[in-house]
Each structure stands twice: as structure tokens, then as C-alpha cells.
């Protein structure tokens, strides 16, 4: 029988760092390239374009599916003649007006909601009521109230931005830790200043998510609304461009219009929102 307490004690010298061999080694060029998300996604885009071109040529019916080449030619033509930039600009101007109005209303509603109990009840009730209502379903009503024109478009866009943004922002405010609130009050902040200086930055990940959803809703709603009554005040937007081209059976132009919508959507998502995300919530470690 051995006594366990008789085992010898062990004290060792650590080996010096030169003895380890590889601690850190650079990845190969291929591995490094493969780690770039933009590169992987670009490859997917190229594959889609190739598949499209092949299918278009195989089908050989430009009225159903024009080839990628035809579409790009039409897009280039539209860009050169200034029709597409013009229509896009009209759409974007209205979009900004509607988006800004929606953001403003959402800010007012959520600040009321976070400062008063009545405001909370009001916000919860109306978002529950209107959030599931598709903006397009309001178009007939908007037409009666605001007539053919910008007013109706902005009305439906406010509807599509306001609810998701208000809902997300409010949820974000409520998720701010009690400790952070107490820290803010410790500095002597209260009321609106507490909201501006503590709650809004602390809830920024949720607010940003709300803005992204709001943007996507607004963009879709706007294009759809333009398709229905696009000639707002004599100047149509992108939706109207698509509608017009379809009526004249210029199908490559229809595709060029759709492609423009996609490109703008991608740009806003991957350039504007992505940059904001990188500079804020990622940098602050509030989102991974």
C-alpha cells in the first residue's frame, strides 16, 4: 500500500518562447481571400448573372425573359438618356420625405411612451392595430384623402416606416439596463436629456434594426404605390417607369428598372447601413 501524501511535489522551469515552434502563422492567400465576405458574395452574383444569360439565350424570348446582356444594355441606355436617374431621383426624394416623417413620428411616440404610462399603452395599442396592416391596403383610402400625388405616397410610407421603427425603438428602450439608467440619473440627467444622452445610444442596436426594417418596408411600398398611381404631379418614379415600359412591351427596360431597384436596395443595405453599423454598434461591442 502506498501513502498518497508521499507523492513527490513537482516544480518545473517553463520552456522559453523560442522552443515553441509555431504560435502564430499567416493563412495562405486562398484562405485569406475566402475569408472576405464581399468576395464570396460577388462570386455568387457573377454565377447568378451567368445563369440568367444562359437561360435567356436558351429561352430566346425577350418578351418573357430578356438576357442579362439585353437588360444591362437597356439599363445603360436608360442611364445615358437620363430617364432612369431622373425617375430614381423622383422616387428617392419622395422616399426621404416619407422616411423622415416616419422617423420623426416614431421618435415622438416612443419618447412619450418611455416617459409616461399612457404613452406606453397608446403605443402598444396602435402598433398592435396598424402594424399588421399592409401599406398597400391603405392606398384607396389615401387616394380619397390626399388625391393623386405625393401626399398619398408619403402617407403610405409613413405608415410603413412608423410601426416597425416605433416597436423596435420602444423594445430597445425597455431593454436598457436599470444600471445604465441609474448612472445617467447619477449625473443629474432626467426626462428628455436622459433619453437623448443615455437611452438612445444604449438602445441604438434596436433603433438601427428598426430603421433597416423601416427602410425595406418603405422602399417596397413606394415602388408598389408608384406602380398603382405613379404619375404623381406629372413626374413618375421608378415604379412608374416599370409600368410604362411594360405597357410598351419594352421588357428589357422593365428588367432594367427592377435591377435598379435591387442595386439601390443593396447599396443602402450594404454601404449605408453597414457603415453606420461598423462605426457604431460593432465598434462599441454592442453587436457581433
Amino acid at each position: 500500500m502506498s501513502d498518497l501524501s508521499l507523492r513527490p511535489e513537482i516544480v518545473r522551469e517553463l520552456s522559453s518562447s523560442e522552443d515553441f515552434g509555431v504560435i502564430q502563422k499567416e493563412l495562405t492567400v486562398f484562405e485569406q481571400l475566402f475569408n472576405q465576405a464581399w468576395l464570396r458574395k460577388s462570386i455568387i452574383l457573377v454565377l447568378i448573372a451567368v445563369a440568367w444569360e444562359v437561360y435567356g439565350r436558351y429561352l430566346d424570348n425577350p418578351l418573357l425573359v430578356p438576357t442579362f446582356n439585353d437588360t444591362v444594355t437597356a439599363l445603360w441606355g436608360g442611364l445615358k438618356s437620363g430617364v432612369i436617374p431622373d425617375r430614381t431621383w423622383t422616387t428617392i426624394v419622395i422616399l426621404f420625405k416619407g422616411f423622415a416623417a416616419g422617423v420623426f413620428l416614431a421618435a415622438v411616440m416612443t419618447i412619450l411612451a418611455i416617459t409616461t404610462q399612457v404613452g406606453t399603452d397608446f403605443l402598444e395599442t396602435v402598433t398592435a392595430m396598424f402594424s399588421p396592416l399592409p401599406a398597400i391596403a391603405l392606398l384607396p383610402l389615401a387616394l380619397i384623402w390626399f388625391g393623386l400625388g405625393q401626399g398619398s405616397l408619403i402617407f403610405v410610407m409613413v405608415h410603413s416606416v412608423l410601426w416597425p421603427l416605433a416597436l423596435n425603438t420602444h423594445a430597445g428602450f425597455r431593454a436598457v439596463s436599470p444600471t445604465l439608467r441609474m448612472v445617467g440619473r447619477n449625473y443629474g440627467l432626467s426626462g428628455l436629456m436622459l433619453v437623448l444622452k443615455i437611452l438612445i445610444p444604449a438602445a441604438f442596436p434596436s433603433i438601427l434594426a428598426g430603421l433597416k426594417i423601416g427602410w425595406a418596408f418603405a422602399w417596397r411600398t413606394l415602388i408598389a404605390a408608384e406602380l398603382v398611381f405613379g404619375v404623381a404631379s406629372g413626374k413618375g418614379g421608378l415604379g412608374w417607369y416599370i409600368f410604362e415600359s411594360k405597357n410598351q412591351l419594352d421588357i428589357p427596360e422593365v428588367f432594367a428598372g427592377l435591377l435598379t431597384i435591387i442595386v439601390i436596395g443593396l447599396l443602402v443595405e450594404n454601404v449605408i447601413f453597414r457603415t453606420i453599423e461598423l462605426k457604431t454598434v460593432r465598434r462599441w461591442g454592442m453587436q457581433n
Binding site: T179, L180, M182, V183, N186, Y187, G188, I198, A202, T280
Partner: protein
Amino acid sequence: MGTELDQTLPQPLLDVRGVTLQYKTREHLVTATYRVDFSIQRSDRFVLLGPSGCGKSTLLKAVGGYMAPVEGEIHLKGTKITRPGPDRMMVFQEFDQLLPWKTVRQNVTFALTTSGKLRGKAADEKAMQYIDKVHLTRFADAYPHTLSGGMKQRVAIARGMAMEPDILLMDEPFAALDALTRQRMQDELLQLWDETKFTVLFVTHSIAEAVKIGNRILLLSPHPGQVKAEMNSVPRDGDPALAAALEARIHDMLFADRVEEDEHV
């Protein structure tokens, strides 16, 4: 009996008289403390010690101005406390007490500028001076999420001290740290006290921490919190046996309750 003794002492910095605190949960009205009295002199390291449920954190919140007593009053330098303010800086237990969207330096300057204490360059200099005191100069421009728990607490302490409040309120600031870091933080806090002699009200449930940090210890009993004893701690560089004896004495006082409880069952 207290009046005679009080006259010999200078006007206390913080005076807590007959404070009963209650808060509501969804189902109950809970009495956290019942008629608690104590007073803190300038440069005290005053410790509130007690088991969980003795209302020590609630008491600290009341001193912070986050909740009003249902009975009794709290006075700071003769003025009744009614709301939170930068003259009583809190250091919380939670690591998320730093604003994640600001760097270490910005976190400290933001406190100074927002409370209207200092502005611009003066605020920045004051901030760096205290960041230096907690040995975080190298991390001044780092965001909080890149720091370890102990470093975050050091920033919170720097922030609290940079405000040069009348009293620093610390709510179990080292409870969420590992034992080694915790010991180092306690030593650092005492070092800082040696340098600036700030007044601190420190909440803990660790007897050893109370004896080490405090110069005066208020012992609270649980459910609801009542003052059980107020005692002086041992000298810091004194005989370790004295500290051990005090710890044992406090332990017995807290433990006595439990024996009684057992006997009643």
C-alpha cells in the same frame, strides 16, 4: 443617550435617521430596512455589512436618492436628499455601468461635463489624472467591451472619484470579480484612499472585505434590515490576529440569528 455623544463629534457628513425603506414587487410590499440610524464623518470608510436580504443595497440606493424613505430622513451636509445627484457618485457591482459607446476617457469626461462640473480641456485633464491613478492610462482610448471585469470596475471607480463627490457610494463593486483580482482591487482602493482621503460608503456581504476596507462597520440583520451593531474596524497595518478576532466576532453575531431561527423551528 446619543445626544450627549453626538455633541462631542463634528457635524456628520451624512446623517441617516430612523430610515424605513419599502419597495413593491408585483405581489408584495417589502420592508427592506426598519428605522436604521447611522452617521458618517468625513474621510470615513463606512461599510454596510449584512447577509443578503438585509436591505443594505436598498439603503445605498436611498442615500443615492433613487428611492425615498417612507419614514425617517437622510441628510448630506445638512441638506435633505431627495433625488440622485453628482455629489453622491455610485459605483455599481454590474460591469455594464460604463457607457459602451464611449471610450474609457470619454466615460470619465462625460460624467464631468454632463453634470456641469468641468468643461473641455479641464474635464479631460481631470479625467486622465484619475485614469492614471487607477493605472489605466494605456487603455484610455479603449472601448469598455475590450476591458476585463476588473478594469471596468477600475474605470467606474476612476469616474466616481474624478467627480470628487462628497461621498462615494459603492455597491458590492468587487463581488463579481475573481478572488485574486478582488484582493488586488481592495488594496488599490485603500491606496487611493491614502492619497485622497475620500469618504466612501461601501456595501458588502463579505466579513473579510468589511474588516479590510472599512474603518467603521454597520452590521445589519436581515428581513427587514435593522442595525445590529456599529463597530470600529482594526487598524490596517495592525496585528492580523486582531482582524481575525474581529471577523470571528462579527461572524458569531451574524450566526447567532441562525441558531435562534433553528431553535424556533
